[in-house]
Amino acid sequence: MCHHKRMSPTPTGPALRLRNLRKTYKDVVAVDGLDLEVRRGECFGLLGPNGAGKTTTIEICEGLTPADSGEVGLLGMSWNSGAGALRQKLGIQLQETQLSDKLTVTETIRLFRSFYHQGPSTEDVIAQAQLTEKRDARVGGLSGGQKQRLALGCALVGDPEFLFLDEPTTGLDPQARRQLWDLIEQFKAAGRTILLTTHYMDEAERLCDRVAIMDHGKVIALGTPRELIASIGVEHIVEFSAAGTLDETALSGMEGVRSVHTENGSVLMQVNALHLAVPALLGELGRQGMALTELRTHSATLEDVFVALTGRHLRDE
């Protein structure tokens, strides 16, 4: 989609380096001594529940919020020197920006395009954001997904080297989310660096090369989604309910089962060999003479990693 080659030789070093970053609002510690590196060309995800400090972290990186202490190195530059040059190289999408309802899609993109020295034409950006049919529509009349794609379009007008996306799909329906994911993947395929925050684990698993799980302003786990999931030593979760009182002790002794616990009336087993554990479970239920009312299995997700690390769910609010 982008035909623009950057003139500068490929720079070395990480795209983003955070050193001992701290930010406190009144008596709330939002970011608590954060160290992080984002490599050039990777899509890096900050995953965590609301209030974990994701937005504060990304806004410090974007030069919108000053940190109390610590260092931010971005594309080999810093916000203290060369902020103007840095702004030209960044694409930023903020959480909950409302673009002007009275402008059309084209007018909005033209406005943002006018701030950058270089970048694709207005028409190209609109096509990239899949808004060509809506080019003359007022922003106020767009759907949630279209507005979000427009916001992404506004972030792409300067042909950015580094794209910041703060909860890009929050509040969208599944179809609109998938459309937006496609756009982000196209951008990724063009070799650009992305830092995104999300509290959807499926989003992080699909889009991100590496993920940092944040809680209370700190990184509590870092790695590829696969590594993180593997780190809890569980490959699958088997969830079932049965009519009657179950003897759970028999379950934890079964082959391939790591742990068993009960949640909201159903039993959750963390399992690393599904092909052994499920037949064993069915046999055990048969021995106890219990009828199965529900049975579900899913591969372990980042959500399970978060639960394993904190004992809480990502979306507990």
């Binding site: 974007e62 702004r87 920006t97 673009l99 033209r110 006018s114």
Partner: protein, 349 residues
Amino acid sequence: MSNRDNALVQLTLVRFREFLREPEALFWVFGFPILLAAGLGVAFRNRPPEVIKIGAVSAHLRAALASEKLLDVTEFSSGDAAEQALLTGKIALLIEPGPSARGAGGQVVYRYDDTSPDARTARMLADDAIQRAAGRADPVASSEKLIREPGSRYIDFLLPGLLGMNLMGSGIWGLVFAIVDARRKKLMKRLVATPMPRHDYLLSFLLSRLGLLVVEVGLVAGFGALVFQVPLRGSLLSFALLCVLGSLSFSSIGLLIASRLQTIEAASGFSNLVMMPMWVLSGVFFSAQRFPAAVQPVIHVLPLTALIDALRAIMLQGEPIARLAPQLGILAVWLMVSFALALKLFRWR
């Protein structure tokens, strides 16, 4: 890619688009002042002098009164009918022949309510006419010159006031609303995240104000000139310069008000707090001279007072702009102080 749009041009175009696509704003800026001028102009238009109805009970008196054009005399044959007309307010004054030729009571009796201005005027006019008809000679000769020309009517006084009020309203409200709304919607934060030159953002407001100013002032002043023949006796250039200075002063005050506010409610409250005293004190609808001498120094330095005084001087008296240095000075000080403070206090998020 080569012919990139200019940021300042785009920002200014956005200002115009946002304004022109807001029907309510269009009405308040363009429609309302014209409706107000039309309404008040009609209500306070100068009528021809009113003819007062009076009654007389003798044909002899009626003949004497015929020379007075401002009195409409009805002759009554019976005293009862005449009295009835007087008591029900159909006539303001009743003239009856007196009981005696020379003694107490006089030859003519005027019956009227002395608390009614119409009745008192009628009595003076009737007495004059009767005395002159009887041969009175006035020792001092006098003649009259009537002034009914454009420039001294209420609409002439009012229109510069409305122009000033409009410049204040659109300058302050136009900036405050747009800026606070952009801040509330986090649009300002989003713009600051781009390489947009920040001074272009602020400058776009001033440029769009100047553009709209031409329409805004032209429409109201043109309406006044066409419909009510309100004059512009001074030079058009002085008038234009004054409008620009006034608009920029109020835009700066708007920028100052908007520098930190986060909600539309607060913006609305603050703007009204600033504008309300000037609506009342600065002589939009009536002369500011009516307020006590103690508060005159305060009224004098208000920007709206300075602007309206100068507008009236240029439009009605045809003063050259050099003679308006005090008013221009007051506006310039408001402009510079507000702008400097606004730049110091302004929050970009």
